[in-house]
């Protein structure tokens, strides 16, 4: 809500600076989100009095005005239609500057000298009016500074109104908070008027067919109005509250809405068939044209204001084209009603139509204030348009409001707040806020809030008000004794930290990518029709197609990150992400959320330095990282098993990762088609993904200390030639199995695949460490075991010892 300082001052005395006021508002809960001065850079503008107007001899549309500028008389060329002798208007002389910075110079227009410029309101930033020069009220002398005449500078405050405070979506509401905070009295404006028209009952009637949706409908009639522009002061205030000025009839309804928070609507009385109002639900499919010219289809959710025959307004949202005020309107019927918030909200949501009125009704209008707002509007309208107000009002009020009676326990309030307020202080605060406070006994009050405080119905609502009035800043800081919660310390949280430090130690940088991906991202991964990664969770209302489904794979996000960085010429990438995938479940169940750690390597593994040559990364680099991570968190004996590739991976370079017979993840090269889809045709990328939940189940065991071996180890090397199809893991398995208790460890220390062995064979060398826990192994014993292992390998794989 935007309003000016000068408008607020009409209802409450404010003698502090605009900045101090902004601070007070913010600290009472009305956050000032912005403030801007009005009437800055107006110092060069003075009051000019037009003395003579004659037409420009060579330009039809221009006049040459002789203007009294106080110290001198000047001739000014002007195109405005409203120039006339005697008019006072803002004037700027040569060498002066307009607020927008334009320097004014003496110029010749078609041969006639123009010394200065008469100004319109928009040229000085007061309103958006450019229909003519600004006409000042009589009084000021020519040559006086405009800022002095207008009482400037003024300020515009932009105040954030929380949804619970519709009463503050009004200038009076804000002024009331200022009055409470500064101990001043609130001045409610005068709504006095002369009712010179016929009795209203002879002119109209109001029928409410749905009293739940419309608990109150008040109406007044004003006759023989003269539509025309509103006065400057009203247009100025509307402009700075961001409401467009229409005419002196419509403006009054908007003005009173801003002033009091009560949305009003003005109907052209003559255009209401049978000159009466009926409030009813819309019929399903009924069509209606709102005053913005849009024809809309209604449903039972919409509440309609009708005349004797047809709908004339969308209740609480917008008026209709068929009953709108226009230039020839003679009589006006003003509506001041209260509608059920939920009805208005549903109707507004359904139509996608939100207005200043619906905003206020959705949050709750002041049902008790509808009458005063109506009177205020009639009074202003008769003053501005010269109309005659009908005698009396229609006030159809089928559901009269009764205030809630709220028990307030001072001790309870102090217990919640950690304060020690007296009952007298509390009573003072609540009364200042307009509540009816009745003392029950020394510990309790009975509080009846005013009708404009729709947010107050419970004791805790009052506690908040008391705290606000007392000042949050005055409540002392204390430190609670925090007793441990039964729940907490989710294993994944600490695991995330551990994984993060291992991965960064391995040179990987963490990325965070969006949980949503493009709906065709799974196609890019070449998932077949039955692939589980196709059971995506779809958003009903995505922002873009690229973010329309929840991810079933971290690959698209990681590849996008690789693409971004390759585009920025980053050569060697090591990225990891800790994130969730989402798989759809049947019916209205929440999707399955699975946490993964995924890491990708692309491009260069190491750069050229003084001690090493440049090298690209390959499968064994990513595998090494996966092993280091798993070892680091306490897992050993992983098995990498070649299997059918998961979507996104290269068919040939893909393995499942197993530990203790459990599948904990997958690893491999990214498919070249996928790379191409991310514009990475010339790159290779390697990836692993680990399922955190399954790893966590394996980590439940605590590490057990093993005593140091007491007997010496015996090392034996074993160099084999085997078929290239035979996986090293298979040979290692045989060695471990056959070595039994005497086998302490085995590692591959050499590998040869090359010309010397032909294309079908490879040489692998193992270093085996034999040791017994109970005795010193004899050479003979070891030899026998070693031979047996060689024999087994030969039997099972055809491998044989490499000579030499």
């Amino acid at each position: 809500m935007k309003t000016t300082l000068s408008w607020l001052k009409e209802y409450v005395d404010i003698d502090m600076s605009a900045h101090e006021l902004a601070h007070i508002l913010t600290m009472t809960g009305l956050e000032v989100e912005g403030m801007e001065p009005v009437g800055r850079f107006l110092d060069d503008i003075i009051v000019g009095k037009i003395e003579e107007v004659r037409p420009h001899p060579r330009a039809e549309r221009l006049s040459i005005c002789t203007v009294d500028a106080g110290s001198q008389k000047v001739k000014v060329a002007c195109g405005a239609p409203n120039v006339a002798p005697g008019v006072l208007a803002p004037l700027i002389l040569p060498a002066g500057r307009l607020p927008n910075g334009t320097l004014i110079e003496e110029i010749r227009i078609r041969g006639e000298l123009s010394t200065g410029m008469l100004l319109a309101e928009d040229e000085i930033g007061l309103t958006d009016d450019h229909s003519g020069i600004m006409m000042l009220d009589p009084g000021p002398a020519p040559g006086e500074r405009l800022t002095a005449v207008l009482g400037f500078p003024d300020w515009v405050f932009d105040i954030a109104i929380t949804p619970n405070r519709p009463d503050c979506a009004s200038v009076i509401g804000i002024a009331r908070e200022i009055a409470v905070a500064t101990g001043r009295t609130l001045r409610i404006p005068d709504a006095h008027m002369d009712e010179t028209g016929p009795p209203i009952q002879e002119l109209t009637s109001v029928t409410i067919l749905d009293p739940e949706a419309c608990p109150r409908y008040a109406a007044g009639v004003i006759q023989e109005v003269t539509p025309g522009p509103s006065p400057f002061w009203m247009r100025y205030r509307l402009h700075h509250s961001e409401v467009r000025s229409i005419n002196n009839l419509v403006d009054v309804t908007n003005y009173v809405m801003l002033e009091m928070g009560q949305p009003l609507h003005a109907f052209d009385y003559d255009r209401l068939r049978e000159n009466r109002i009926v409030v009813r639900r819309a019929r399903e499919g009924e069509s209606f044209t709102t005053l913005d010219g849009q024809t809309r289809t209604m449903s039972r959710e919409n509440l309609m204001i009708c005349d004797g025959q047809r709908p004339v307004a969308l209740a609480g949202i917008m008026g209709g084209l068929n009953s709108e005020i226009f230039a020839n309107t003679r009589h006006v019927l003003i509506e001041s009603a209260c509608f059920d918030p939920v009805t208005i909200r549903r109707g507004s949501k359904r139509l996608g139509l939100s207005t200043e009125a619906s905003y206020r009704f959705e949050r709750g209008a002041d049902i008790g204030g509808a009458g005063l707002a109506l009177k205020r509007a009639l009074s202003l309208m008769s003053r501005l348009s010269g109309g005659k107000v009908a005698k009396g009002l229609i006030d159809n009020y089928p559901r009269p409001w009764t205030p809630p009676h709220i028990r307030f326990r001072t001790e309870h309030a102090n217990r919640i707040l950690g304060a020690s307020l007296s009952q007298t202080a509390v009573k003072g605060f609540l009364e200042a806020l307009g509540m009816d406070v009745r003392q029950t006994d020394d510990h309790e009050l009975m509080v009846l809030p005013p009708s404009f405080r729709v947010d107050i119905s419970r004791e805790v609502d009052l506690i908040e008000e008391v705290a606000r009035c007392y000042g949050f800043d005055r409540i002392p800081l204390t430190y609670p004794t925090i007793r441990p919660s039964e729940q907490g310390d989710a294993a994944e949280v600490f695991f995330h930290e551990q994984v993060g430090s291992i991965m960064t130690g391995l040179g990987f940088s963490e990325v965070i990518t969006y949980s949503f991906i493009s709906s065709d991202a799974v196609d890019v991964l070449r998932a077949d029709k039955e692939s589980p990664i196709r059971s995506v969770v779809r958003l009903m209302n995505p922002l873009t197609i690229d973010q329309s489904v929840l991810r079933t794979s971290l690959i698209p996000g990681l590849m996008a990150a690789v693409k971004t960085n390759v585009a920025h010429d980053q050569k060697g990438l090591r990225l990891f992400e800790w994130g969730k995938t989402f798989f759809q479940k049947a019916g209205d169940q929440l999707p399955l959320e699975t946490i993964w750690i995924a890491a990708v390597m692309a491009g260069r593994f190491q750069e050229k330095t003084w001690y090493q040559e440049e090298r690209k990364c390959d499968y064994y680099d990513i595998k090494g990282a996966a092993e280091a991570l798993l070892n680091g968190i306490g897992l050993n004996d992983m098995r990498f098993q070649k299997e059918e590739a998961h979507p996104g991976y290269d068919r040939e370079v893909f393995a499942g990762i197993y530990c203790a017979e459990r599948r904990i993840g997958r690893i491999g090269r990214i498919d070249s088609d996928v790379m191409a889809a991310y514009d990475l045709k010339d790159e290779d990328a390697y990836l692993f993904e680990l399922d955190i939940a399954s790893i966590l189940t394996l980590l439940s065991r605590t590490t057990q200390f093993q005593p140091f071996p007491r007997f010496p180890a015996v090392l034996r090397d074993l160099s084999l030639i085997v078929d290239r199809q035979i996986e090293s893991a298979r040979i290692l398995d045989i060695i471990r199995r056959e070595g039994g208790d005497f086998l302490e460890s085995v590692r591959i220390f050499d590998l040869y695949e090359g010309k010397k062995l032909g294309t079908s064979q490879k040489a692998i060398a193992f270093r085996i460490c034999y040791r017994s826990a109970h005795e010193t192994l004899e050479g003979e014993q070891v030899n026998r075991l070693h031979e047996a292992i060689i024999e087994k390998i030969h039997q099972e794989t055809g491998g044989r010892l490499r000579e030499g």
Partner: protein, 336 residues
């Protein structure tokens, strides 16, 4: 034999002076001093000499052995420069070391870890919950009924009419209270989603929620706890203020502002010229929420708070563009 020994010594010393590579040096050691080396062979022969010759020859052989060993060690030390070829005195100690590649933790993770550590030290425990949430937990049980304007405060991504992407971490309040009795002292970090994307908003971001419910917890406790957090996070001297606000699930509700870290309160663009920066929302748990989890509001009280991690990270590290967090550009990540 003596002559042979002396000849060997001369030859060996000449050779070692010419050695410039580790590999040659090692070959030298094996050639002369190894198990089958030339000098070793002589030493083995000494045992076969006449007894009276043995002491002199043994002495000589030992002297030569010591001489060669010493010279070997010296040469080795000399070659011990980063790249073989220089003498020790010429070793360039300023050459860059053989550095392992260092990775970087995402700034969001860093801030979440820091926030969690601060609250863990106070005694809060960390919980996690689903990103995709029932309308019930995200809204209903937090006192945000359907058709309530408070729903407009958060633009929501819907999966179905009853399932949403959580718009805040607050559903964890209900999930935890629903499953246990007080004392409740938890924090819940995680991703949240709002249907909003522009210069200052991303459709996904991170929050940390906190909740303390026990007997006798006050608004003063809320102030103390959060002041302590702010001082640990932003420095002991950071002024802060509690300002009335509105959240449907807390009452009284307070926004916590800190003195602008950019301008120190004089007013700048970051703080919209107010001198203050909003960093977290908080309040006393609304009794309406207790009703959903079956706690007695006359027995228990508590406070809840929530903060946006991106915002804290931006203030802490001086990042001026929220979009950077999810671009995953190494030029950004490498700075943390």
């Amino acid at each position: 034999m003596k002559a042979q020994l002396l000849e060997l010594e001369t030859r060996a010393l000449k050779e070692i002076d010419a050695i410039a590579e580790f590999s040659e040096l090692e070959a030298f050691r094996i050639r002369y001093l190894g198990k089958k080396g030339q000098l070793t062979r002589f030493v083995k022969q000494i045992g076969r000499l006449a007894p009276e010759e043995r002491p002199a020859m043994g002495k000589l052989a030992n002297r030569i052995k010591k001489e060669l060993s010493d010279r070997f060690e010296q040469a080795k030390a000399a070659l011990d420069s980063p790249k073989a070829g220089g003498r020790a005195s010429l070793m360039d100690l300023t050459l860059p070391g053989r550095a392992p590649v260092r990775g970087h933790l995402h700034p969001i993770s860093r801030v979440i870890q820091e926030v969690c550590r601060i609250f863990s030290r106070m005694g809060f425990r960390v919980v996690k919950g689903p990103n995709v949430e029932l309308d019930y937990y995200n809204f209903e049980a937090l006192n945000i009924p359907r058709d309530h304007p408070a729903r407009d405060m958060q633009d929501t991504f819907y999966i179905t009419d009853n399932i949403v992407l959580r718009t805040h971490t607050s559903p964890m309040q209900v999930r935890v209270m629903e499953s246990q009795k007080p004392p409740v002292s938890i924090i819940a970090p995680g991703k949240v989603y709002r249907r909003d994307s522009d210069v200052s908003h991303t459709p996904m971001f991170h929050q940390v929620e906190g909740l303390l419910v026990d007997k006798g917890v006050t608004f003063g406790d809320l102030k103390g706890t959060l002041a302590s957090f702010v001082h640990q996070m932003f420095g002991n001297e950071t002024p802060l203020r509690f300002r009335p606000s509105f959240f449907p699930f807390t009452e009284p509700s307070a926004e916590v502002d800190i003195r602008c870290v950019m301008c120190k309160g004089t007013g700048c663009r970051t703080c919209s010229h107010t001198g203050w920066l909003e960093i977290l929302g908080s309040g006393m748990v609304d009794p309406e929420v207790y009703r959903f989890v079956d706690y007695d509001p006359d027995v228990y009280s508590g406070f809840a708070f929530g903060m946006g991690i991106e915002r804290i990270a931006m203030l802490k590290y001086g990042i001026d563009d929220i979009q950077l967090f999810f671009k995953n550009d190494m030029r950004f990540l490498r700075q943390f």
